[in-house]
Amino acid sequence: MSLLATGLFNLLNYWVYVSLMMIGLYAVIAKTNLVKKVIGLSLFQTGIFIFYISMGVVSGATTPITWTDAERLRLGLSRVEVAPERAAAALAAVEEDGLDAARAALGPLAPADAARLDELLARPYTNPLPHVLILTAIVVSVSTMAVALAIVMEIKAAYGTIESDEIVTAELETARAARS
């Protein structure tokens, strides 16, 4: 049970991505209305976006913005209980000798605070590349939607309907008329 729960919740994003893709594909396959098919395609692609976004995630990471050590330390110090003069010493040390020296200058902390600070100082950032990629993919997807909808509009103009079975019937009648 717990295994299932872990599987379900830790990988929730991936379940969402797969479900969205499947729903989208089903719509493409099963819907006769062409616009609904296009919506299905859109859902399908949205699923992929979630997949990409999820894979960039690093648990507990910050936004992928470049910080200097001093900025990072200042952020960390603002989150823990520490005497102001020791904080000032640490900030001075970080300018001179880097994070390790600053951490030494800070002296001992309450265990909870120490852990918190260490985590904040070492905190990785999420991988920005998939997000950048998916921006491009979204543009592509939007263009596809535009072309698809344009074609659907043309189909509506040519056949008077966007229901695929009605179009099939219309074509069959044309073919029958041409034969006789």
Partner: protein, 497 residues
């Protein structure tokens, strides 16, 4: 700064920018002129690039000066130099000569858009071929596909079914591309890079984790859709039948070939021999469907009444040959694929141009409209005849050389049934080609079709015959097969025997 080092980028940028500019000119004649100029220039650039590759080996171009793996690189070796020259060459032949058929088949107010789309499509295909970055590849595929959907839809003024064909193409193409995107996602997840060369190195160390294998599966299936491998080929038959004929000629000779190129690139360069053929059964998977494609595609071709549809189904079979060669996993098989790639592009392009001439004169291209055209359109008929023989793989055409390689490759691998399938495919090709020639030269028995007014303009048969000359040159001269193709095939097959 000279332009010489920038050639790899220019190959993509010239048609891309030309496409954008043409989209703005709003004048049919000017659009045609610009498009012709751009396509011919691009072809010249690709030739220069191919010469450079032959002289220097792999040409790497870092886009914007950002070196890989951070930046996006164009990476041109013998294989894609060949495909680049092919795509640009076909465009350089088809675009300048397409004016008459475009005038007949595309509404006058859409001519500028038509040429803009064609150039963008070509730029997309060239980009796909040149790029060394996997995600870039996806984006460029979509550029060429989106323009292709629109180009197919332009056939609607002649037949409204072009719209539904285009819609089907769009759905299938988008799903294929999306599969590719998912696959690349998994590969990125496993390797942390999108640069193809980097990815290849890191994949080799991973020995096929579940993530990698899932990625491979998505990529292969997505690419199968893109290159219209049986049994996901249906979109192609419809799109080729209803698109404007010059679009069909261009797409039939380039789009699926680029698809095959990407597959070769993934299977051999990125995945490598071990992942493709040892860890994953890609060879068995592709071989099975290639054989089915050859047999079923040819059988379906035999039964067609519309010649464009006949040729489209023949393309399904021919793609079977292409995939068969690459799935053999040997230098012989790959040589077969590459020769066939060139030959089939030339022959199919020529055949669709000739069919375009029939459409121009007769208003359609069913067997009925082709009946006995040889008498009034001897050159068009000759192009159909020679092209047909090239499809069969009659000696003196490139088709013979490629089938020779494929059969030899299959035998070398000890795959007797595959060799038999290639031979049976040729037999079926004889059936549908000779049925076509019979109608063209003697007329369909028992029917009288409208007599064509005369030979079509030279802009139809001249390029067709030019392309066929290329195919014959491929069949006669050992130069090409001995040079770039052997180099490319040898380099790719690498460790494989």
């Amino acid at each position: 700064m000279t332009l010489t080092p920038q050639v790899p980028a220019l190959v993509v940028l010239v048609p891309l920018l030309a496409g954008v500019v043409i989209g703005l000119v709003r004048h049919a004649g000017l659009a045609w002129l610009l498009a012709s100029l751009a396509s011919v220039t691009t072809f010249a650039l690709t030739l220069a690039l191919a010469a450079r590759v032959q002289a220097e080996g792999v040409v790497i171009y870092a886009m914007g000066g950002w070196a890989a793996p951070t930046g996006i690189e164009l990476r041109v070796d013998a294989l894609n130099a060949l495909v680049l020259a092919l795509v640009a060459g076909m465009a350089a032949v088809i675009v300048p000569t397409s004016r008459a058929s475009v005038a007949r088949e595309v509404p006058a107010d859409r001519h500028d858009q038509f040429y803009a789309l064609v150039l963008l499509c070509v730029a997309g295909m060239l980009g796909v071929t040149a790029t060394g970055d996997a995600f870039n590849l996806y984006v460029l595929i979509e550029i060429s596909s989106l323009t292709a959907y629109a180009l197919v839809a332009l056939g609607r003024s002649r037949d409204r079914r072009a719209l539904t064909a285009s819609f089907q193409y769009l759905i299938m193409g988008s799903i294929g591309a999306s599969f590719l995107l998912v696959g690349l996602g998994y590969l990125f997840l496993a390797t942390g890079t999108l640069n193809m060369a980097d990815m290849a190195v890191r994949l080799a160390d991973l020995h096929g984790s579940t993530t990698v294998r899932t990625g491979v599966a998505f990529v292969i299936v997505g690419l199968s859709l893109k290159m219209a491998l049986f049994p996901v080929h249906q979109w192609m038959a419809d799109a080729y039948t209803y698109a404007p004929t010059s679009v069909t000629a261009l797409m039939a000779s380039t789009a699926t070939k680029v698809g095959v190129y990407i597959t070769i690139r993934f299977v051999y360069t990125i995945f490598g021999h071990e992942l493709s053929f040892v860890i994953m059964p890609t060879d068995a998977f592709l071989l099975a469907f290639a054989c089915l494609a050859i047999v079923v595609g040819s059988l379906q071709a035999i039964r067609q009444h519309d010649v464009r549809r006949l040729l489209a189904y023949s393309s399904v079979a021919q793609i079977g040959y292409l995939v068969l060669g690459l799935a053999l996993g040997s230098a012989l098989g790959l040589s077969g694929t590459l020769v066939h790639l060139l030959n089939h592009a030339l022959v199919k392009g020529a055949l669709f141009l000739a069919v375009g001439a029939v459409v121009y004169r007769q208003g359609g291209a069913t067997m009925h409209e082709l009946t006995g055209i040889a008498r009034r359109m001897p050159l068009t008929a000759a192009a159909i005849a020679v092209g047909g023989l090239g499809l069969i793989g009659v000696p003196l055409t490139g088709g013979f050389v490629s089938k020779w390689y494929l059969v030899a490759g299959a035998l070398e691998a000890g795959l007797w049934p595959v060799a038999v399938v290639v031979l049976v495919g040729s037999l079926l090709a004889v059936a549908y080609v000779l049925r076509l020639l019979q109608v063209v030269y003697f007329g369909e028995p028992g029917t009288v079709a409208p007599e064509p007014a005369g030979e079509a303009p030279a802009s139809f048969w001249a390029p067709a015959l030019l392309l066929l000359l290329g195919s014959v040159a491929l069949g006669v001269s050992g130069q090409l097969t001995g040079g770039l193709i052997a180099a490319a095939a040898g380099a790719l097959a690498g460790g494989a025997p």
